[in-house]
C-alpha cells in the first residue's frame, strides 16, 4: 500500500515539475539569453566616462501564453529586443534597464498578483503591459495606489478615462477605431449593422463605443451580441445577425474567433462586408481565416503597411527599422501589438531623459509633457488630460487582398 502511494506521489511530482517548468517558460529566456548575447559588447565599454548609474528596474506583464498570446508573445519579444538595443547604446541617461518579464496568461487575477509582486517586492519604476484590457483595468488602481507608472499595451479607453495620474496607454483609442469604421461605412452607404464582440474587457469596451457613437454617424446597431472568448463556433450568433438583415457585420475581439467570424459568415451565406477592430492587425488571423478573410476591412496602425507609406511620413523610418529588427531576429512577421510594447518603453525612456531623474513622480509628470514622440502606433502628444496621446489619424483603414494586408481605398 505504501509502495503504491509513493508511486502516485511520484507521478504527481513529475507532473508538477513539468507544469512548473511550463509556467516559467517565458521568464528564464531573457535572463539566459541576455548575458550570452551581450557578452562581446560589454567587453569593450566604448565611450562611457561617467560611473555606471544604478539600473532602472522595469516590470512587464504580458499575456505570453493563453488566449491573448497573439498580443503577449510579440510584445515580450519586442520588449526584450528593444531593452537590449537601449542598453547596448549605453542606457537611458547612463542607466541600464533591467526588464522583468512576467506571463499572465491573459488572466486578470494573475495580472493582479504579478503587479503586486512587481510593485511591493521588486519596487519597479514602471510596469509595461498588461496585454489585454481586462487585465489592465484590474491593476489600474493597484498601480495608482502603489505610485508605480503603468504603460498599458491594451486598447480599451477606460484605462485612461477617467484619468489616473500614473496610468498611461500606448495603443490607439478604441473610440477612434470605432469612428474610423463608421466613417468608412458612411462612405459605403451602410446604415444598419450587426455587432458581435467577445465577452472580455476588449470586446465589452468596444461594443460600448460602437453603440455610443453610432447615432453620430447615422448608423443603427440593429443587434449587438457577445460570445465567449474560447468560442469555437459562431454560426448561431451570426444566424441571428442574418435574421436582422444587417448590411455589415462588425466583430470586436482579439481572440482567434476573429478568424472564425470570417469563416462562419461564409458558411451560413451571410455575404455582407465584415469590419473588424484594430485587434485584427496580425497576419496570422488572416491566414487562419483563409479565403474567407479576404475583403475584411479594419482600422490599424501603420506598421503593417510601412513599405507603402510616402517617404516623408514621420513614422516611416521608425516603422521600417522596427520591422526589420524584429523580423530578422525572430524570423516571424512583426505585428502592431509588439509595437505597443515598443512605444511603451520608448515613452518611458523619453520621459526619464526629459525628467533627468528616475523618481517615479518626476518621470510620471514628464510623460504628461511629452510632445511629438514618434512611435510605431502614431505620433504621441501627451498632456495632463490625455494619457494616450494619439488621435484618430493614428489609424489607417486596411483591408485583406489575396491573404495579404493592403491599404483600403474607396471603390
Amino acid at each position: 500500500m505504501e509502495m503504491r502511494f509513493v508511486r502516485i506521489l511520484g507521478v504527481f511530482v513529475v507532473g508538477l515539475a513539468l507544469i512548473g517548468s511550463g509556467c516559467k517558460r517565458s521568464a528564464p529566456t531573457p535572463a539566459e539569453k541576455a548575458p550570452a548575447e551581450k557578452a562581446p559588447t560589454t567587453q569593450l565599454p566604448a565611450a562611457k566616462p561617467q560611473a555606471e548609474a544604478a539600473p532602472i528596474k522595469v516590470g512587464a506583464i504580458f499575456a505570453i501564453t493563453g488566449p491573448a498570446s497573439f498580443l503577449g508573445a510579440p510584445e515580450q519579444k519586442t520588449a526584450e529586443m528593444f531593452v537590449e538595443q537601449i542598453n547596448q547604446a549605453g542606457g537611458v541617461n547612463g542607466h541600464k534597464i533591467t526588464l522583468l518579464i512576467k506571463d499572465s496568461g491573459a488572466k486578470p487575477e494573475t495580472a493582479i498578483s504579478l503587479a503586486k509582486q512587481l510593485i511591493d517586492e521588486e519596487k519597479v519604476l514602471a510596469i509595461i503591459g498588461p496585454s489585454t484590457s481586462g487585465e489592465s483595468m484590474a491593476i489600474k488602481d493597484i498601480c495608482q495606489e502603489g505610485k508605480t507608472i503603468l504603460l498599458s499595451c491594451a486598447a480599451a479607453e477606460t484605462i485612461v478615462d477617467p484619468i489616473a495620474g500614473y496610468v498611461f496607454k500606448t495603443p490607439q483609442k478604441d473610440s477612434d477605431a470605432a469612428r474610423r469604421i463608421y466613417e468608412t461605412m458612411k462612405e459605403k452607404g451602410i446604415t444598419k449593422v450587426g455587432v458581435v464582440s467577445s465577452s472580455d474587457g476588449f470586446g465589452v469596451a468596444g461594443a460600448k463605443q460602437l453603440a455610443g457613437l453610432a447615432p453620430e454617424y447615422g448608423i443603427t446597431v440593429a443587434i449587438s451580441e457577445t460570445y465567449d472568448k474560447a468560442e469555437t463556433d459562431l454560426t448561431g450568433v451570426l444566424t441571428k445577425l442574418k435574421g436582422q438583415d444587417v448590411q455589415a457585420v462588425i466583430n470586436w475581439s482579439i481572440v482567434p474567433a476573429q478568424s472564425l467570424v470570417a469563416k462562419n459568415m461564409k458558411q451560413i451565406g451571410l455575404n455582407v462586408p465584415l469590419f473588424q477592430s484594430h485587434g485584427f492587425g496580425n497576419i496570422k488571423y488572416v491566414q487562419a481565416g483563409g479565403e474567407a478573410a479576404n475583403g475584411t476591412i479594419f482600422p490599424c496602425g501603420r506598421l503593417l503597411i510601412a513599405e507603402v507609406l510616402p517617404g516623408t511620413h514621420p513614422q516611416k523610418q521608425l516603422l521600417l527599422k522596427y520591422k526589420q529588427d524584429y523580423e530578422s531576429r525572430y524570423k516571424e512577421d512583426a505585428s502592431t501589438f509588439g509595437g505597443h510594447a515598443y512605444d511603451a518603453l520608448l515613452v518611458l525612456a523619453e520621459a526619464v531623459k526629459k525628467a533627468g531623474s528616475v523618481e517615479s513622480e518626476k518621470v510620471r509628470a514628464a510623460i504628461e509633457t511629452l510632445q511629438g514622440v514618434v512611435g510605431t502606433g502614431g505620433v504621441f502628444n501627451f498632456s495632463e488630460k490625455d494619457h494616450n496621446g494619439l488621435t484618430k489619424d493614428a489609424f489607417e483603414m486596411l483591408t485583406v487582398e489575396n491573404g495579404k494586408f493592403a491599404l483600403y481605398t474607396k471603390k
Binding site: G15, L18, G22, R25, G66, D233, K242, G243, K266
Partner: protein
C-alpha cells in the same frame, strides 16, 4: 423568424452538436471498460490535430491524419501503461484525478512543442467559403465530414463491441472483471486497449474539427467539458446515445441563442448537466432499472 432562418439555426446546432458528440464518444469507450472518466480526452483531440497539422507540411492530408491517429493511439496506450496501470487497484476516483493531472501535463507539453498559436488543417473538400444550400440555409462541407466521421465511428464501435471477440472481451471486463479473468481474458490489456481506442478516435475527431474550430494547445479542456456533459446526458457508456445527446445539446444551444442574448449560451450545457444529474443521473436514454442495476 422565417423558415430558412429556423433551418439555419438547426444546421448551426448540428454543427456544434456533432463536435460535442464526437468528443463524448471517446469518454464512453474508456468509461465502459474501466469506469474511469478520462479527463485527458480533450487533449487527445488536440494532440491528434496538432500532429496532423505538423505532418501535413511534408505528407498528403490523408496520410498525415492516418499517422497522427496511429501515433496518438500509441501515446494513449503508453499513458495507460505508465500512469494508470501501476495504480490500477486504486479507487476510480484516484484514477480520475490522475487523468486530470495528465491532461495538465499534456497541455503544458503541447505548449512547448507547438507554442501558443492557433493552427488548422485545410478543409477536406472545398474551401472556407464552399457551402451546400438546404432549404435556403447553408452548411459547410466540413460539417458534413464531421457528421459523417461521427456516424462511421459510432457504427464501427457498435460492430466492434457487439460482434468481434476482442470487443466482447472488453465489454466482459466492464461487466465483471473477475469473471472475465476466469474466462481467460487478459483484463489489463483490455484496459490499455480502451485507452488506445479512445485516443485514436479522439485524434481523428481533432483532425476533422480542426478546419472549423482551429486548434490551439489549450482548447482541449473546454471541449472535454461539453463532451462530458453530452456523455452524461446520453448515459455514460452509450455511444449511440451520446451522438443523439450531442446533437440535442447543440440544437438547444442554437435555439437559446436565437431567443435570448448569445451570452447565455455557455450556461446551457451547465444547466443541462445539473438537471440531468439531479433528475435522471442515468442519462436520457437509459431505462431507470438498468441504470440502477449498473450502479449496484
Amino acid at each position: 423568424m422565417n423558415f430558412p432562418l429556423i433551418v439555419q439555426y438547426g444546421l448551426s446546432g448540428i454543427t456544434v452538436g456533432s463536435i460535442y458528440a464526437i468528443v463524448a464518444v471517446g469518454f464512453n469507450i474508456i468509461y465502459s471498460t474501466t469506469g474511469i472518466i478520462n479527463f485527458a480526452q480533450g487533449e487527445f483531440l488536440i494532440i491528434g490535430a496538432m500532429m496532423a497539422i505538423s505532418l501535413y507540411q511534408v505528407v498528403p492530408l490523408w496520410l498525415a491524419i492516418a499517422l497522427a491517429v496511429i501515433v496518438t493511439t500509441i501515446l494513449g496506450g503508453l499513458m495507460e501503461v505508465v500512469f494508470i496501470r501501476p495504480v490500477r487497484n486504486a479507487s476510480v476516483l484516484r484514477l480520475i484525478v490522475i487523468t486530470i493531472g495528465l491532461s495538465i501535463l499534456i497541455r503544458e507539453a503541447m505548449l512547448h512543442i507547438w507554442d501558443e498559436q492557433p493552427r488548422y488543417l485545410p478543409y477536406f473538400t472545398g474551401t472556407e467559403s464552399s457551402t451546400i444550400a438546404v432549404f435556403g440555409a447553408y452548411i459547410s462541407l466540413q460539417v458534413l465530414w464531421v457528421l459523417g466521421v461521427s456516424a462511421v465511428i459510432v457504427a464501427g464501435l457498435t460492430v466492434f463491441f457487439r460482434f468481434t471477440l476482442l470487443g466482447r472481451a472488453m465489454r466482459a471486463c466492464a461487466d465483471d472483471r473477475m469473471a472475465a479473468c476466469l474466462c481467460g481474458i487478459n483484463d489489463r490489456w483490455m484496459v490499455t486497449l480502451s485507452f488506445m481506442l479512445s485516443a485514436g478516435i479522439g485524434a481523428l475527431a481533432g483532425c476533422v474539427i480542426s478546419p472549423v474550430t482551429l486548434t490551439q494547445y489549450d482548447m482541449g479542456a473546454p471541449l472535454a467539458i461539453k463532451g462530458f456533459t453530452v456523455a452524461i446526458l446520453g448515459g455514460l457508456g452509450n455511444s449511440m446515445a451520446a451522438v443523439v445527446a450531442g446533437l440535442l445539446l447543440g440544437l438547444l444551444e442554437a435555439f437559446v441563442v436565437s431567443q435570448f442574448a448569445a451570452a447565455y449560451k455557455e450556461a446551457v450545457a451547465i444547466v443541462v448537466l445539473l438537471l440531468v444529474l439531479v433528475f435522471r443521473p442515468t442519462g436520457l436514454f437509459v431505462r431507470r432499472e438498468i441504470g440502477a442495476l449498473r450502479a449496484a
